[in-house]
Subunit: 548 residues, 2 copies
């Protein structure tokens, strides 16, 4: 008995000569797995069975070029790491009638869990209150696999697994990646991570060595800097505009690289957040991405494309008084509305894309995945096998029940459209409040197109104490003034990619992700009030009811 | 409304002068949290709130000495790693009325999970069939914390957390550690890991550098070797007997360390598995542990005490025909039956103990914890914050519901006694089969006292091809012969701590953890058959019905 979402559609045993329809041309049906699934070897659903992403691609990619090799980029640590030696025994396990006293896996008899249930939204009724009313309960039993009820269960998911993650969830992830990005080289694959923070830690240990410099946006995710620095990897910041990093500036930095002055050889690695970048909220357009990719080709740069906010791309901002733009009417329209990823233009296999469920489902799963060429995937998995061992099976089972068995791909796309509209609404609350309350003589911004962050540029040259006081000192005074007025925003300098480089801009970051609408509006009002005091501007007449 | 397991007993606000009864002298009551809980700050139950193990110790440890400092042992990477810079903003969050647009945490409004339920055993009815019949369903709601129903819920656990893990589960872990080990120095604490494999990876990055040698048992956990080698850390194996590593041999290796010949400076790190060691099954007795600790003091060695099998200590083996020894009749008796840990004798704070739920609850939680001095704990947490970010919140909520709210400490101890008796039964099946079927002319063993593994010593000198063929070649031939007869056991050489060192012993490892009793017996019968053929011994008369 298969639950509705897990229907195995007509199996295609050999896809090489078979014409498969363009994913986007096929209408999605609610609660059905989109696309065709190849007949797969059932042994991979078993306890700690090896999982290979390539088995789960719905169509052949053999007509595409192979990825380049990255041997020169890969660290000594990663090069000498061998696979798990005990797996040498695994090849004998297929012998009929063999009794194994080999692997030290505990028996599921001693897992004190008989059943796991989740109440989750039905497709199209996604809000908290609708979920309370119309949500359904989905259930995993302990021995569903042996009993033929499902291909994933407690006895399997709660035991040891592989560094790749389980075949069950890896199949869903691979299908999703194929539909959304369809990488233009043949030997691409996916492997799970315990979240993108860990994936970055592991990627840097694979692709850099102490003394290296890595490229990144000049304002960047602070944790990325803090992950890199202790490994002896510094960051060279690349100037940005409202579309993120500037390819010409990157080209110029690389072409004129002075190894002596920088005390580092020419970089071979770019860390970038193309959509809704943290902290700037900048989203690289399609042309910008192509230009960046070309510069990376020119200088043989390997790219870490960190995309937690990819599905937080929002509707265009129409201003405070214009009507909202209606949501996408089909999944095809939704997918076309997204800026194409670097992965989708990666003819060389020079991109490791980092995806995450944290912003679109829940950070507490600690499940993400990377997509890259087979060489990079295998190297990553070898490290995972002797460190994280892949994401928690408990989380994997929860996500698989929801994403594969219950929602399927179409339900997940519906959910992503829901999230898109919710973030659009939140962003618009903030932008409308900024238009209403902030003194545009000293603060300016571009509407964020993706992500969680609004980036406010302060004209520090208009500050009464400039240039007597440094930018960082003025930033601190404004920061404390805003707190005094009852709001907290983050200081731009906390996101310097390289604190040793000179900066002559001053920014604050405000998020619309967490607070309710009325709180967002009130916080922005207080921010405006504080800025007026700080810059000795006149109190705002029309809303001049500040408390200071 | 508090569920029965979560009763907050009389709060002790200041424990420094209060006499608290010896844990073991107090009778445990079913389904009640053992011991006293201090009044704790409720803010630590919130989303991504900082958690400090020290807050959860039930009694004062101030009368004990402080741990030594380990600055000279700590790597450059770990020394320069700073805390998360964005936490600088956290200190302002306490200001009344402040609206934060700071942290980029997603709103739980967008977590598509309304309720999570688990069917689990009631205390004392732990078998799978009993759980089916009499198991209870425990449930976590999305907003239980805000609604005052529980201190942990979906909206909290499924959001981001700290590298330490949540305060909720860390409290339970700290209490458990205090009851079982009661470390003899004052500034000890616990922090969660994503499993001991990851903890070892992170510990080695903290406590070693490329070129170092680390000490370990001469046969050791293969994954530990594979974790260390790519970091440039080799292992020096220490000779063992049936009680594990030999302290005199360790002292001699260290006292006579030849840095030139070894191409490494004198080691400062010991990796040891004191109970049910993998692969040898050896368990260090209390005196052995004290002797090892003294040698570590003499040479200022820091100890990684990896103890996944600590609670798989079994009843004494009485032989095939003697009556079984009845289970412990109280938790106090149970705890006293356990060999004291190195942590429990650690007056210097020179032990990092690695604990795991994998062998006693389920590997799929990917939750373990370390116990060490504050200096080591803080250093570890800083790395977790920028890599794993701590264990999955989904797993944390599942374990907390079971361990804290449902079972409490007494229920968990009952469960551990259940597991102890189950493993005793499994081990006895294997030992009885060995006594029945194995040719003792060429194979010998000691009954394992803990863990999952039985270690069989082969008299390779009696092999017809010895010494013409090497030990490893003979080992391979026996291995393949056993497979031919339909059983799989692991080759001892796969567990060499250092493949470059010369070995003159030959072993196989067999596990009794996974297969059912009748399969264990049959596999051992086949092993005996294969050994007889390989060593050209006479076929066993009384059971001579082999199929070869």
């Amino acid at each position: 008995m298969s639950p509705p979402g897990a229907i195995e559609v007509e199996a295609v045993t050999d896809t090489s000569g078979v014409t498969i329809p363009d994913p986007l041309s096929v209408p999605f049906k609610s609660n059905e797995i989109y696309g065709r699934r190849r007949k797969t070897d059932k042994s991979q659903w078993g306890v700690a069975a090896p999982a290979n992403s390539v088995n789960f691609r719905s169509q052949s990619h053999d007509h595409k070029p192979m990825a380049k090799r990255w041997d020169g980029h890969i660290s000594n640590e990663a090069t000498i790491r061998k696979g798990n030696s005990l797996k040498q025994a695994a090849k004998y396990l297929g012998k009929p009638g063999l009794i194994s006293l080999g692997g030290g896996l505990p028996s599921s008899e001693y897992f004190p869990f008989e059943q796991l249930s989740l109440k989750v939204p039905t497709i199209g009724h996604f809000s908290e209150s609708e979920t309370k009313d119309s949500g359904v309960t989905i259930t995993a039993g302990k021995h569903d696999l042996a009993e033929g009820k499902a291909i994933f269960d407690i006895s399997t998911a709660f035991n040891y697994g592989q560094g790749s993650g389980s075949a069950q969830l890896l199949r869903w992830i691979t299908e999703h990646t194929e539909m959304v990005h369809n990488p233009p080289y043949s030997d691409w694959g996916c492997t799970m991570t315990v979240g993108s923070t860990s994936a970055l830690d592991m990627a840097l240990r694979m692709l850099s060595k102490p003394g290296d410099m890595m490229l990144s946006e000049e304002y960047t995710f602070a944790t990325a800097v803090e992950t890199a620095l202790p490994m002896g990897v510094r960051i060279a910041g690349i100037p940005m505009d409202s579309e993120g990093l500037l390819p010409e500036a990157m080209d110029s930095i690389l072409s004129n690289w002075d190894a002596k002055a920088r005390n580092a050889s020419k970089p071979h690695l770019l860390y970038t957040v193309p959509s809704g970048q943290n902290p700037t909220g900048a989203t690289q357009g399609a042309d910008r991405r192509r230009a960046i990719y070309r510069v990376c080709q020119k200088h043989n740069i390997y790219i870490l494309e960190d995309e937690p906010y990819y599905f937080l791309q929002m509707q265009p901002y129409t201003g405070p008084n214009a009507p909202d733009i209606p949501p996408p009417t089909s999944h095809a329209e939704f997918l076309k509305s997204l800026v194409p990823s670097l992965l989708s233009m990666d003819v060389d296999g020079r991109v490791m894309r980092l995806d995450s469920f944290s912003k679109v489902l829940s950070p507490g799963s600690r499940i993400g995945w990377i997509t890259a060429s087979e060489q990079i995937i295998k190297t990553y998995q070898k490290h995972a096998d002797v460190s994280t061992q892949g994401p928690a099976g408990m989380s994997q089972l929860i996500l698989w029940k929801l994403l594969d068995e219950h929602w399927g791909h179409p339900g997940f796309f519906d959910w992503l459209i829901h999230i898109r509209m919710e973030y659009t609404r939140r962003r618009d609350v903030m932008l409308n409040a900024c238009a209403k309350y902030l003194p545009t003589e000293v603060v300016s911004w571009a509407p964020p197109m993706a992500g969680m962050f609004h980036w406010l540029k302060i004209e520090h040259t208009k500050h009464p104490d400039y240039p007597v006081k440094s930018i960082e000192k003025i930033e601190e005074e404004i920061f404390l003034r805003v707190i005094h007025h009852g709001a907290l925003v983050m200081r731009g300098s906390w996101f310097y990619a390289n604190a040793d480089e000179k900066h002559n801009t001053l920014f604050f970051r405000a998020t619309y992700a967490a607070a309710p609408a009325e709180k967002i509006e009130e916080a922005i009002r207080r921010l405006g009030e504080a800025l007026r005091v700080e810059f000795k501007l006149e109190t705002q007449e029309k809303n001049g009811n500040g408390k200071a």
